[in-house]
Amino acid sequence: MMNKMSITNEIKNNLNQSFSHFNQYILTNAEESKRLYEFHYDKAVEDVAALQQDSDLRSRYILRDLLNSLESFKQAADRTIKVYDDRSGVDVYYDEYVWTKEIVSYCNTFISMLSDSYFDYNVTIYRGLKQKQEYINKILMAYIMVALMLSAIYTLLFIGDITRKLKELVSASEKVVKGDFTYNEGERTYIYELDILSEAFRKMITHISKYIESLQEKAELERKLQDEKMKLLSYENALKVSQLKVLQAQINPHFLFNTLNCISQTAVKENAHKTESLIRAVAGILRYSLSMMDRNATLEEEVNVVKQYMYIQKIRYEDRFEFNLKINVDLKKIVVPAMTLQPFVENAFIHGIEPKEEGGVINIEITEQGGFCTILIEDTGCGMDEDMLKEIMSDSPEQRPVGHTTGLGIRSVVQRLKLMYNRDDIFSIESKKGCGTRVYLKIPIKE
């Protein structure tokens, strides 16, 4: 646009140059002036033609008038020159000259009109641009507002989804923390990752609960196994303990036996038959206790040992006590650990009868009752208070019952029985201070 303005200015300059060279020619008749007059005129026309290619409507109308006026100027000027060249007087070409001059002024008027037109056009274009600018600004503002609104809405929805899902997950995990593995997956969000997360969470929880279940099962199994092992161990332990006791009690059995044999031989030689039978009883008990350590015995064998023991005690204490044995069971079919009965009987002796001045009675009753063999060992000794009972039943090492033939305490005997039959109700004891003691053994009969 500025370009057009400058071209317009150039046209003006060229026209005026052309006219002044024309004047010069009229004054001086210099060919150079004529050439220049034509040259500048041509330039002006060229410029006008150039502007016509690229102008608004109003300016094009003015340009047409200008171009025509320029042509008129050329014609008038050429006529003037022609008349002048014909060497006519001034009065002849004067009118033509004046007309030419007038046309130049008209051309200048058109040129200034053209400038105005361009200026106005610029102004309108500028206004248009300004309006457009405002319009675009408004559009952009609206655009931005709408975009913001939409994104805000979307964000809110999105965040709402996320928080809802997360809350769900949080509450679920809180539940999990409390050990509740029931997780219901809520509705789907439209956020891929979250859905994957919740799905994974759900799977994880199910896996965890399954895993925990299996762990519990395993633990259960292991516990059972452990229990079994413990039982076995304690059984073996009890065995070992009894063996140990026995071993501790052994002072070279061969020596003992040989000695005892030697003594009994001597007793026979000296005609001391009582002594001989005593020694045989002791040797019998000893042999039994040694040989039966690592196998179970029948009740019959047990009873025999008890009888031999009682025989020895009878000789010791003569008539300070009475011993009764009642049996109405087939003793062969009942199996117990070796040295089960003897310790109870010995207990009855040591704690029941011995402390009593006037002595007492020891009864043993072996009966059968519905698949069980009940063994009652009863004494009319001094009995025990409850503290004593507890002490007897406890297994504390400082409470080792002393003076037992076999060194076996009641506790370990009972334990062996329990382990063997895997029952808790095998042993029971009742006692009262000064009224004696009753021990019940309830042993299942294995056909």
């Binding site: 006026s69 042509e71 939409l150 809405i153 979307y154 929805l157």
Partner: protein
């Protein structure tokens, strides 16, 4: 439901995005000026550029131009000036326009330039005022003598064939004023016994016209009607009559259709006005030029009729004017 909302939001967003982009791109487009072919041009040179009377001439001319595929370049001096008028004609001639329609302000001084244009082979038509002795192709306009006669007929229609009237004219030496008075006189002298009590001139100034009217009414209280030959004379007379309380007693017959004149007719202060038809003049003039360009030689005088506008046909007249105006929009 939620899904539906979600998807509708998505689609809405996309739609809005697209619409906005289209609107934006559309608004960013640079509109190249429409390469309209420029048309031949006829220059219409008026008496005074801003005169409403000439606006009507222009409207008529533009109507015709639209029909004949040319454009009108309406020009005129800011205020009446013979030199400027002549200069505009010369300028149009130098610019080799297709034709010139000119108002002649001064016959004697215009003859030369008109002849120069015609000799240069450019059609020129005079409008509203003529240069009879020039070589102009044609004249389109009112016959002012005839217009004066029409005014006389109207006066007789209003006051009968007896009594006194007075005349207020514009410029004493202006051709059309003289012709109007001439026509008026000739008509009433041959058609009635009406006596002309006085002739006053206002030089086409409103105040002067009012003073002239007062003077006449004071001196000749028995005057039945005032005949005013120019637009402003009528308005001045109306003011005088109104202030002297003679409304209805003294008839005013004047010229032209200024809005104030029409308002006064509506109020009954001015009785009637003789109206020329500038619209028709403009229309006709352009057609004559075009006919000549297209090879139909059209020459001579083209007289446009005058109308008498009074209270009866005022509305119709106004409607007509409005239509002319609307057409040009």
């Amino acid at each position: 439901m939620k899904r539906l909302l979600k998807y509708s939001v998505y689609y809405l967003a996309v739609l809005i995005f697209i619409v906005f982009n289209v609107v934006l791109l559309d608004s960013l487009k640079y509109e190249k000026p429409v390469e309209e072919e420029i048309k031949p041009k006829i220059v219409l040179i008026s008496h005074v550029y801003a005169n409403p009377y000439w606006k009507q001439v222009r409207l008529g001319a533009e109507k015709a131009a639209k029909e004949r595929g040319v454009i009108i370049d309406f020009q005129g001096p800011e205020s009446a000036s013979v030199e400027e008028g002549i200069r505009l004609i010369k300028m149009a001639y130098a610019a080799k326009v297709s034709g010139i329609i000119a108002y002649v302000q001064d016959e004697t001084r215009y003859n030369d330039v008109i002849n120069k244009v015609i000799e240069g082979g450019m059609p020129l038509v005079t409008v509203d005022s003529d240069a009879e002795n020039s070589k102009r192709l044609a004249y389109v306009g009112t016959d002012n003598v005839e217009a004066g006669r029409v005014g006389g007929r109207e006066v007789i229609r209003q006051i009968g064939t007896e009594g006194k009237v007075a005349i207020i004219m514009g410029g004493k030496s202006v051709k059309n004023q003289i012709e109007r008075v001439e026509g008026f006189k000739s008509y009433i002298s041959s058609n009635s016994n009406i006596v002309i009590a006085a002739i006053e001139s206002s030089d086409s100034y409103l105040l002067e016209a009012e003073l002239a009217a007062r003077k006449i009414l004071n001196r000749h209280p028995d005057v039945k009607a005032l005949f005013c030959t120019s637009a402003l004379d009528g308005l001045g007379a109306a003011k005088a009559v109104k202030s002297l309380g003679l409304v209805g007693k003294v008839k005013i017959i004047c010229f032209d259709d200024l809005p104030e004149t029409l308002d006064n007719i509506e109020k009954g202060i001015i009785t009637s006005t003789v109206v020329q038809q500038p619209y028709v003049m403009g229309y006709k003039a352009v057609n004559i030029i075009m006919d000549n360009i297209e090879g139909k030689t059209t020459k001579g005088l083209f007289i446009t009729d005058v109308l008498v506008v009074d209270k009866e046909n005022l509305d119709e007249f106004r409607k007509q004017q409005q239509e002319y105006y609307n057409e040009s929009q």
